[in-house]
């Protein structure tokens, strides 16, 4: 079955950039683009063990009359014929349910934000909850449209990181773009990582593996190409980790402007 990406469309210039990003993603990887033009400011997503309510910013409901045409023409400019999603189930009359059977979901850095917060470093709490629960990777695009030409996986050795590597391998096949892996050791033994790689049988992804055994992650991230799609696993465990803002994902979000694909604990890759 062909993979599908769901994109919640904002009919504003900022939203145009995001849709261009999603369209490029879909075109490059042969994924079908499904666009949801919201008619209400909220919607629910029912996952396996949680229900997440997404409260959209008012700007998502701008000019509904022109929304569909705008979205269609943006997608067509990338060579795609989008599918438009109309919600069929409603929890309450103003609360549609968005299904979760998709293969990717595009979430801007903060769905709830004012445009000023689209800046780096801020991942809205809703997006975090979606990542924590979703059975699909979450695509967080660059705020301004830019074509990525390579894949960069940030590998930390955890189970989710392994999934991220596998996803990277799949995307390499689909897009034909080169794959590079980055690891920050932070005092750890490299042998530990080698062991994990061997156990999971993902050696062939590690042809181009850059290991940072010194320096701060913040500075080392400069090595990640500016035109790469960054793939990483999200933290998936520990109540405390989730609360602490020092978690790695937040840091990387602050430093890198690249589009990102985040693999959460419930993803099946």
């Amino acid at each position: 079955m062909e993979a599908q990406l769901i994109h919640v469309f904002r009919n504003t210039p900022f939203g145009r950039e995001t849709l261009l990003e999603s369209s490029y993603f879909c075109k490059t990887l042969g994924v079908e683009l499904v666009v949801y033009i919201p008619k209400t400011s909220k919607f629910l997503m029912y996952f396996e063990n949680d229900v997440v309510q997404v409260d959209l910013d008012r700007s998502y409901l701008t000019s509904p009359a022109s929304a569909r045409d705008h979205a269609a023409s943006i997608a067509q400019s990338a060579g795609l014929e989008p599918l438009f999603f109309e919600p069929k189930d409603f929890t309450a009359s103003t609360l549609p349910d968005i299904p979760t059977h998709f293969d990717y979901m595009c979430c801007p850095r903060s769905i709830v934000d004012l445009s000023s917060k689209i800046g780096l470093g801020y991942i809205g709490p809703r997006v975090r909850r979606i990542v924590q629960n979703a059975p699909f990777p979450v695509y967080i695009p660059n705020p301004v449209f830019k074509q990525w030409k390579s894949l960069a996986v940030l590998f930390g050795g955890s189970a989710n990181a392994v999934k991220a590597v596998r996803l990277g391998m799949t995307l390499r096949e689909l897009s034909g773009y080169p794959l590079q892996i980055f690891t920050q050791l932070d005092g750890d033994d490299r042998a530990k990582y080698d062991k994990v790689i061997e156990e999971r049988g993902i050696e062939e992804a590690f042809e181009k593996w850059t290991v940072f055994d010194s320096g701060k992650l913040k500075e080392n991230l400069y090595e990640v190409p500016h035109d790469a799609l960054v793939i990483m696993g999200a933290y998936g465990h520990g109540l405390i980790r989730q609360l602490a803002f020092g978690s790695k994902m937040e840091l990387i979000q602050t430093v890198l402007p690249n589009s990102m694909l985040i693999v959460g604990p419930y993803c099946t890759v």
């Binding site: 079955m1 209400t40 949680d50 229900v51 309510q53 189930d89 009359s93 103003t94 299904p99 109540l239």
Partner: protein
């Protein structure tokens, strides 16, 4: 055992214990927790109502008292809509929707948001009851505790039922009614697995409320003595109550629909509704608030009014409740039903006395009680809940016989006139009332992507009949999809039945190509289509198999035979 455990490792430790525990024991323990939660929710709302009411007492006698419900309703609507962003509905239908379709998942915010909004609406005089807010709070508590323990859908739904049961048990001090409400209205089924947890949750919820509020019967009274004549007359109450329940339901639905069209910002609509109720309340104080004091007065035979006033009060309460809830106030319909049921019963008794003054009719309180039972059973179309609730809140088991009679008659009468109760109306109209083991539920659980059969051999448009022969020989199916060789798009379907007569006709072997004889009118099905829609399509077009196509690409066939096989397996697996 280590003395200090960090939060994550404590959670892992708990999870390990849970994994090895017997499922039933686990559910009992979690149900106890949920019972405490539901009980607390009821207690909190009760205290809030008391507190706000007390604080506003001074203002009740002023001229601007009629604005109080308006402010309360507006604040409640604003709070729910803008601060909590709840997207409010009545509450109970959401719980039922979640139970039917979403495995009992409810948002965490619902566990406290309705308590606040309900308190705001009711304590300021809005004509609604505290039950719906407390039911959705309890249900949400149950759902979220289930989430912490990573329970599966079936277990989570049981916990939602426990939450609802404990909430109702606590707010009415009526454990049996709580259990029966959870099963009759929320869950829709008794199963061995949920009997004990719900019972435990009800008991604990009641205990929590008794600890805080004390154990007393809400509407106590001295014993009623009813003669056979009274019981006979009770049938009349059932009919009248049934009719008034229908009136109430229709008025309520109508107000909800119409008011939305009339006034736009939610808070303004609520404010205007509140103002109307406030004005009504200036003339008839009994329409304000949840009205338990009115019921107590009636039951104790202290309500001073004749037939006309009682009847007027009944109708006024019906109107006020429809306005409050219909314009967006936050509250339930139990308490108002009790109020206008008792008033209506009183009016009936006054009527009987008026018509046949020589007969020693039972007191007003007796008929009021029957009126309450009849209205509850009729409006909710849940006779058991009605019977047990009235028995428990009045403590009068001695009159259970006429209670049973009127409840049954009223519920049945209402069902004939309004086939769907207020709680289920929206769900049924969208086809979302999916009780386990019903056709609708089974079809909703099955999905096409699980039933697609992918063993068809695909042919090109330009395949000749001759080239079909080895294809037919090797395939195990009767259908051959035709694809465009350049784009891979699905073009049409070849049925073996259609080509069989010609396969052995050598003259045609090179003269016929699949592209010209394929069926292009065959309806296509997408992997995300409704199963019901697919079956209807099969019935309409008299086909037993349909192609599943996504984005112009052929995925496989879906056949009625496979649907039957899976339908039966699904039914078996949902049965205990």
């Amino acid at each position: 055992m280590p003395l200090k455990m960090t939060v994550p490792s404590l959670r892992l430790f708990l999870l390990r214990i849970i994994r090895h525990m017997d499922e039933r024991l686990l559910l009992v323990i979690i149900a106890a927790l949920v019972g405490v939660g539901g009980g607390l929710a009821a207690v909190i709302l009760d205290r809030l109502l008391f507190g706000i009411h007390h604080a506003l007492r001074a203002m009740q006698c002023r001229w601007y008292a009629f604005l109080l419900p308006a402010c309360g309703a507006a604040l409640s609507s604003f709070f729910l809509g803008y601060i909590m962003k709840e997207g409010a509905g009545h509450g109970v239908p959401e719980v039922i929707y979640s139970v039917c379709k979403r495995g009992g998942l409810l948002r965490l915010r619902s566990s406290f948001s309705r308590l606040i909004s309900g308190a705001l609406t009711i304590a300021t005089g809005g004509s609604a009851g505290p039950e719906a807010p407390v039911v959705i709070s309890g249900a949400s508590v149950g759902s979220n505790i289930a989430k912490v323990f990573s329970l599966n859908d079936r277990q989570r739904v049981t916990m939602v039922g426990c939450g609802a049961a404990s909430a109702i048990s606590a707010i009415f001090n009526a454990p049996i009614a709580g259990m029966i409400f959870a099963v009759e209205v929320i869950l829709g089924e008794w199963t061995p697995i949920n009997l004990i947890p719900i019972a435990i949750a009800s008991v604990i919820g009641t205990e929590v409320s008794r600890l805080v509020e004390g154990n007393h019967i809400r509407f106590s009274h001295h014993q009623f003595h009813a003669s056979l004549l009274d019981i006979g007359a009770a049938v009349g109450i059932a009919v009248l109550a049934g009719l008034s329940s229908v009136l109430f339901t229709r008025l309520l639905n109508g107000t909800i629909r119409k008011s939305r069209d009339l006034v736009s910002p939610d808070w303004l609509r609520a404010a205007m509704g509140g103002a109307c109720v406030g004005i009504l309340g200036l003339f008839l104080a009994s329409v304000l608030g949840e009205g338990y004091d009115v019921v107590s007065t009636v039951m104790a035979n202290e309500y001073q009014s004749g037939l006309l006033l009682a009847a007027l009060a009944t109708l006024a309460k019906i109107l006020a409740t429809s306005i409050t809830i219909g314009t967006g106030g936050s509250g339930g319909i139990f308490a108002p039903c009790l109020v206008f049921g008792s008033l209506g019963g009183l009016a009936y008794q006054r009527g009987l006395v008026f018509l046949w003054p020589s007969i020693p009719w039972a007191e007003g309180g007796f008929f009021a009680m029957l009126g309450m039972a009849a209205v509850m059973s009729g409006t909710l179309q849940a006779p058991l809940t009605g019977i047990f609730l009235i028995v428990e809140v009045t403590g009068s088991y001695e009159v259970v016989l006429p209670l049973i009679l009127v409840s049954a008659v009223s519920a049945t009468l209402c069902h004939y006139m309004e086939p769907v109760s207020f709680y289920y109306r929206d769900l049924v109209s969208q086809g979302q009332l999916l009780r386990p083991r019903t056709d609708g539920r089974l079809l909703a659980d099955l999905n096409i992507s699980e039933l697609v059969e992918r063993d068809c051999v695909v042919v090109d448009e330009d395949t000749s009949l001759r080239e079909m022969i080895p294809v037919v020989r090797q395939s195990s199916r009767d259908y051959f999809p035709v694809e465009d060789s350049k784009t891979g798009n699905f073009l049409g379907l070849i049925r073996l039945d259609d080509i069989r007569p010609y396969l052995f006709n050598a003259d045609l072997h090179d003269a016929v190509i699949m592209g010209e004889i394929m069926d292009v009118t065959v309806p296509r099905v997408s992997p995300f289509d409704d199963m019901k829609h697919v079956l209807d399509l099969m019935d309409q077009t008299h086909r037993w198999s349909l192609p599943v196509v996504q984005g112009n690409k052929f995925l496989g066939m879906v056949s009625k035979a496979t649907i039957l096989d899976r339908y039966r397996k699904e039914l078996i697996v949902q049965t205990y």
